[in-house]
């Protein structure tokens, strides 16, 4: 795709916006539609479009497949970690209000934390799936 100047320039301008929008969906999910799942997909879409225009090897230089695999597991573990933290602080599993002295602050903290875990997992899983399909050659 190196010969399409318009595509390359427009993509270069769009990718920061896409990633920023993904972060907005992620961290504004308590007030507006969205959350970790949608944010993760949008964030991954930014890297997918980068790899479509600039090549798969460039995208894998930015996010190596191994890093994506580790982060996918890390997201799930972060989620479980919040559950275990509230369990060991005296609540039920995933009962976030015990995390902080104030009930509402604890709930908000827990929700932001698990949404972040979901977002990391979804983004890296979507990217890993794309790498798996795009990195193969036709048999």
């Amino acid at each position: 795709m190196n010969q399409y100047v318009v595509l390359r320039i427009v993509t270069k301008l769009m990718i920061p916006v896409i990633l920023l929008y993904g972060l907005y969906i992620q961290f504004h999910g308590e007030y507006s539609p969205g959350g970790g799942f949608q944010a993760g997909i949008i964030f991954a879409a930014g890297f997918v479009i980068y790899s479509l225009i600039y090549g798969l090897d460039k995208a894998q230089d930015a996010v190596p497949p191994e890093a994506a695999h580790v982060l996918a597991a890390f997201g799930v573990l972060l989620y479980i970690g919040f559950g275990l933290a509230s369990f060991f602080l005296g609540g039920n599993f995933l009962e976030y209000k015990v995390l902080l002295p104030d009930d509402h602050a604890g709930e908000t903290f827990g929700i932001i934390g698990i949404e972040l875990g979901v977002g990391i997992t979804v983004a890296t899983v979507a990217l890993s799936l794309f790498y798996s399909f795009a990195g193969r050659e036709r048999d």
Binding site: G34, G35, I41, V118, T121, S128, L129, F133, R136
Partner: protein, 172 residues
Amino acid sequence: MKIRNLFAVTMLTGIYSLLAASLFVVLDAVDVALTEAAVGAGIMIILMLGTLALTTSKEKVHGKGQNLLALVVVFVTGAGLIYGTLDMPSFGDPEAPAHTHLSPHFTQESVDEIGIPNMVTSVLASYRGIDTLGEAVVIYAAAVGVLLVLGSGAVRRRRKDGHVDDRGEEQS
């Protein structure tokens, strides 16, 4: 009408997803619409196009004979499913169990209990936190399955002459 060109089928699926997302917006389910637009019309189409690039975009034509057994199975299954819906409350029924105790609690008390204005988020992340944890684990398991079957797709680092080396092997 039959379409044998799988590329056209993929594009139609994407358009269908986008229309479904618009329908969800009209029904005020903006969270679902966002998911449908991002997953159904975005990532899923990319993955399907990747599959077509790896395999073929023309459907093979098998024998034209009618399969009577398949017709019977589809008919019986469909009749069973329709029979199963007869017991459900009718669409929008205010007396439906879902609208008598759960919905009022979520809509009236979730802001006091959780302290965040978006009800969808408080239901998904707090009231049904374990359900969402299950979803996250399912997504992760799906990725593990695909990686085991297809390999990680890692492209080897560029050689010094700028030529892309051969693709990483699946065994690694």
